[in-house]
């Protein structure tokens, strides 16, 4: 899909949101925004999206935690039991601290890995960086990437005549 897409520049998120809604309502285009900070909506949402991050955290924590506990148990009870005045070797409670730390480490590594997967990073080159205004980041503007089947500049700009963007750039195949 090598159709050019439009990158619309806005000074703030409100103007961008209005434009995005107008375009989405028309049904012809998909939009996605890019900006210098996360939107309020994302902050306020309680649900942790994307879900895969939370699932990764859980899997990482369980694997590392249970694995750590199991390692200690096997090592202390079977492989290298220490006879300290006849005390029991299966001192499960004493194995918890190390297992807990390993669980947290497993979770953290999983979260970071899942984050990079979700954000599709690292990706050092992207067509958007060819747009000067975007790459330089001056003025900390927001950008709306518009792409769809129906490809006409004029239609898009006509729809947005009520609140026009600051600037319009063309960019090739930039949809994530």
């Amino acid at each position: 899909m090598n159709s050019p897409q439009l990158l619309l520049e806005f000074t703030d998120l409100d103007a961008l949101t209005r434009a995005a809604e107008t375009l989405r309502d028309s049904g012809r285009w998909q939009t996605e925004w890019l900006g210098p900070m996360p939107s309020d909506k994302d902050e306020i949402t309680v649900a942790l999206e994307p879900r895969r991050l939370a699932r990764a955290a859980l899997c990482g924590a369980l694997l590392a935690g249970i694995g750590g506990f199991a390692l200690q148990f096997w090592a202390a009870v079977h492989d290298y039991p220490l006879d300290v005045a006849g005390r029991p070797t299966d001192s499960a409670i004493a194995f918890v601290p190390a297992a807990l730390e390993m669980a947290v480490l497993g979770a953290a590594l999983a979260i970071v890995a899942a984050f990079f997967l979700s954000a599709k990073l690292p990706r050092f080159h992207h067509p958007l960086f060819d747009v000067d205004a975007f790459a330089r980041g001056e003025g900390d503007h927001y950008f709306l990437l518009v792409h769809g089947e129906d490809w006409q500049h004029e239609r898009v700009l006509h729809l947005l005549r009520a609140n026009p963007p600051l600037a319009v750039h063309e960019v090739a195949d930039a949809a994530t």
Partner: protein, 436 residues
Amino acid sequence: MSAGHASIAERVSAIALETRWSLPGRATTLLALALCACFVVATAKLFASGVGIWGIDRPVEWAFAIANYVWWIGMGMAGTFISAALLLLRQEWRASVNRFAEAMTVFAVAVSGFFPIFHLGRPWFFYWVAPYPNVMNTWPQWRSALTWDFFAIATYLIVSILYWYLGMLPDLAVLRDRARSRGKQLFYGILAMGWRGAQAQWRAHTTATRLLAGFAVPLVFSVHTMVALDFSQAIVPGWHSSLFGPFFVAGALFSGFAMTLVLAIVLRRAFGLDDLIGLDDLERLAKLLLATGLFVVYCYAMEAFAPIYSGDANEITGALARWTGPYAWTFWLTLALNAIVPQALWSQRARRDPRMLLAVGASVIVGMWLERFMLILTSLYRSYLPSAEGRYWPTLWDWLLLAGSVGVFLALFLLFARLLPVVSIFELRKRKERFA
């Protein structure tokens, strides 16, 4: 509204990209490097000659090394608390301090990790504490707090670095975009991983940060509890108390907030960040310092009450030795620095006066080192047997290593201020936008 944002990004990125450091900055760098040299020399001497170069002997077998370790790792706690716990509590004001506070944590934990290795009689075998398949067919002692420390410090360091880096990612992209020289563009470009600020990326970033914060908070509480268990696992009077866990956590928060306050005041002065790190933020930090200080005072009171109430002869003698023995001065000085001086923060004028805050912060930082030193010394210098009594004097090498560790921390922090965004650009923008 947007025009104001450019100034935050511009100013903070300019610190890393363009500023030439003035005389005080260069003098501090020189001092840090000189102290690092002390660190290297003291370490080399230690590895060459062994721990006998220190003042430790029977009965005081633990002194500076363990005090330094607890002091440094304690100071790291507040950084994680500010970054993680305050994030989960939706405290927006943390945006002005969380970046360098988290950096403080990373560097403090890194420095603290040296000491458990140094204090070993054979430090080249330090890796034996790790559970790896080995030809000796042995495993570490899982039930020892010292082994738990290995897992705790390793996890804490790695998780702190990950959390710090993740939080910095969007700001590294800002630096990448604004860098003029090719070298800097490459440097920040690689670190920024190609961050574009796309909606999906922000959503993933917000979620990942919150999840990491959710894990980091119990992590940091458990790490400091395990550090406390290093002491309370032993049956030494004055140490063997279930109070130690919460006490060390409170003390860690206390010293960490003090260090954060000191760094905040120095940074805002050095880089002209008065409006970004405002007096309101300093006041909030001061209130946190006062609150944790009160908790520490409560712990001191309980430490005094519990031995007497226990009726145990050894505990009572230990407590009396702490208050009236040859090292009683450490106890009373600790009380003065940690319990008396911070009470100045009840006054709002004091809370909003950077010089006063600097003085109180410095007092607490020194006081907290002294507290750990006091705990170690007053409990070890006399033991159960009358013959097990002695005195301790630190040697030059003890002091050089302590000073050197401060130098390493300072050097790392200066490097951070030189190269990386010292405050969180995107979070400050958010805060400004929300309250504009």
